[in-house]
């Protein structure tokens, strides 16, 4: 054996040893990561913070506003989100749509400030509201370049539009091993949004899509908690599909975080679904005057689901 071949041999050994060590380290880390992901802790608390219909209200209402003087504003909301994140380990921040339209911030800047600020506040996902079409699909696609969070929508097909590939039907968040599946729903555009604004976007039945989403999230993604982020509206006098209609016809959805009707539910409503399981339906008015805060407690052993919210008078605030 020449000196050179000895060197080659030992280098090969060295590399092999390194690869082995790398595999050991890499796989070890990976398996422990999987273990951490797949097995929920005994008892876990998850806090969902939510807004809806903020409508470009980046600043608090002025002192002379007849109804909401001094309420709202992104700086205040950011501070509250930061404070809750400091206190709680598992926090999700969600918006139920209609981010855009309502103050000159949107008229002047097309929603750029809204999306940048939501990203800075650490929003984890948002639904799409009818007014998010107000600058057209090109504008929505353009503004989403500034987003660090996804737009969730299971029942709009954007094929052949500027929004194609820029949304996803759902996202699964894993917190202390608890899998939280969040899917998005949008309202029917016809009669509500100028057809020039939504273009070739195709709306499909949210009840049908929800059933598909629940199947995917429960059966394939093995989610422990399923949240619907909806812009359907709380409820209507006619038979138009709403969060209340969806809740009653659904199965496998734990919480519906709603928007569109600007409904302020002092205490969220609990509805029995088709399998007589309870579904929480909630919505927090509009313009960022309140931040919704849902605490979810899980336990590997117990199966008793208690919902402490009581139904109460409902008001439409704006």
């Amino acid at each position: 054996m020449t000196a050179e071949s000895i060197m080659k041999q030992s280098r090969r050994d060295f590399i092999r040893t390194l690869t082995g060590a790398g595999a050991l380290f890499g796989l070890g880390t990976l398996t422990s990561a999987f273990r951490k992901m797949e097995k929920p802790e005994e008892k876990v608390k998850v806090v969902i913070l939510h807004t809806n219909d903020v409508h470009s209200h980046l600043e608090p209402f002025p002192a002379n506003d007849p109804k909401f003087a001094g309420l709202g504003g992104v700086e205040r909301r950011a501070a509250m989100i930061k404070q809750i994140r400091a206190q709680e380990k598992n926090v999700l921040v969600l918006d139920a749509g209609d981010i855009f339209q309502g103050t000159p911030y949107f008229n002047m800047y097309g929603g750029e400030a809204e999306i940048k600020l939501m990203s800075a506040m650490g929003y984890d996902a948002s639904a799409i509201g009818n007014h998010d079409f107000d600058g057209g699909l090109d504008n929505l696609a353009k503004q989403m370049q500034h987003a660090t969070f996804p737009l969730l929508c299971a029942n709009y097909d954007f094929t052949g539009t500027p929004m194609e590939g820029k949304t996803q039907p759902y996202k699964v968040f894993v917190m202390d091993g608890v899998k939280i599946g969040v899917f998005g729903l949008g309202i029917e555009m016809a009669g509500l949004v100028d057809s020039r604004l939504y273009g070739k976007t195709v709306y499909t039945d949210p009840i049908v899509k929800s059933a598909e989403m629940v199947k995917e999230l429960r059966d394939n993604q093995k989610c422990d908690v399923v949240v619907c982020l909806s812009h359907l509206g709380y409820k209507y006098e006619n038979d138009k599909v709403s969060d209340m209609v969806l809740a009653k016809k659904s199965r496998g959805i734990d919480i519906i975080i709603g928007g569109h009707t600007h409904t302020l539910l002092e205490n969220p409503v609990t509805v029995r679904n088709r399998e007589n399981e309870s579904v929480v339906v909630t919505q927090v008015g509009w313009a960022g005057i309140r931040l919704g805060k849902i605490e979810i407690f899980t336990d590997k052993k117990s199966r008793n689901k208690k919902i402490t919210a009581a139904s109460s008078p409902i008001q439409s605030v704006g």
Binding site: A23, T31, S56, T103, Y109, G292, D299
Partner: protein, 263 residues
């Protein structure tokens, strides 16, 4: 140096990984859901430097245009629903009828529209008492909607009246209408004249509603649709500026244009 353990080790770890990944997700259960809300009032501190550094450049540019006072009001006009008429609805509908007709009748031999109809959902914010800024009007009417005139048949006009009665009242001008207890149209005067289903009517409204917004199906397939080129928001801003030039305020009022008929 023995090679064997190192050769087997990756395989072993791979197997371990497969077991880990394919192993069932151990389900957990929701034991409690406690929903609530936090009011975003002055007790919540606002001192986020990251947020304010993003917001400030936009705010500075916006304020220079939007904080300009364009006029005054003698009373607040809250955004209200579920009322037969509102101060805000009457004010905006009157401006759309008058200013819209001013723009519309500039063409020779054009007769003005008789009735304005708008939707409560289209009025997006309240107006305060006192100084009104350009920004207030952008918040009231953020949309780029234009004023259009739609000519419809008497039958469709009756559908319009049924819609107004069933909804319990939407912003209108140019008409006075009673609503019966069963939410159908009662006594109706159009420009002071009794409604006649054999006549045609000119309705002034927003292009959004004329294009099928808010399920106003009576505006679909009209006899004629004519544009004015005037945005609703610009009409309101110009109305404030004109009154200010005359040293006047906007004086909102209820006048019983939509009322519930009592037996």
């Amino acid at each position: 140096m023995s090679m064997k353990p190192l050769r087997i080790l990756p395989l072993f770890l791979f197997a371990l990984l497969i077991i880990e990944v394919s192993g069932c997700h151990r389900k957990t259960h929701i034991t409690a859901i406690t929903p609530g809300t936090v009011e975003m009032n002055s007790s919540v501190q606002q001192n986020d430097s990251v947020i304010s550094s993003i917001l400030t450049p936009y705010k500075t540019g916006m304020d220079s245009i939007m904080n300009v006072v364009i006029g005054t009001t003698t009373a607040a006009m809250p955004k209200e629903r579920e009322k037969s008429e509102t101060l805000l609805g009457n004010f905006v509908a009157d401006v759309v009828l008058n200013s819209g007709n001013y723009a519309y009748t500039k063409t020779e031999n054009t007769t003005p529209a008789q009735v304005c109809i708008l939707n409560n959902g289209g009025l997006r914010s309240s107006l305060p008492q006192g100084n009104i800024t350009r920004g207030n009007i952008f918040e009231l009417m953020p949309f780029e909607n234009e004023i259009v005139v739609v000519t419809i048949s008497g039958q469709k006009m009756f559908e319009l009246l049924k819609y107004v009665a069933a909804s319990g009242g939407v912003p209108v001008a140019g008409m006075k209408m009673g609503i019966k207890a069963d939410r159908t149209p009662g006594n109706v005067l159009i420009q002071g004249v009794a409604f006649d289903s054999t006549k045609t009517y000119k309705i002034i409204t927003s292009d959004y509603l004329a294009n099928g917004g808010d399920k106003m199906s009576f505006l679909k397939d009209p006899i004629k649709t004519e544009t004015t080129g005037l945005k609703i928001r610009d009409a309101i801003i110009e109305h404030f500026l004109e009154l200010t030039r005359q040293n006047k305020s906007v004086t909102p009022a209820l006048d019983g244009r939509i009322y519930y008929e009592t037996k």
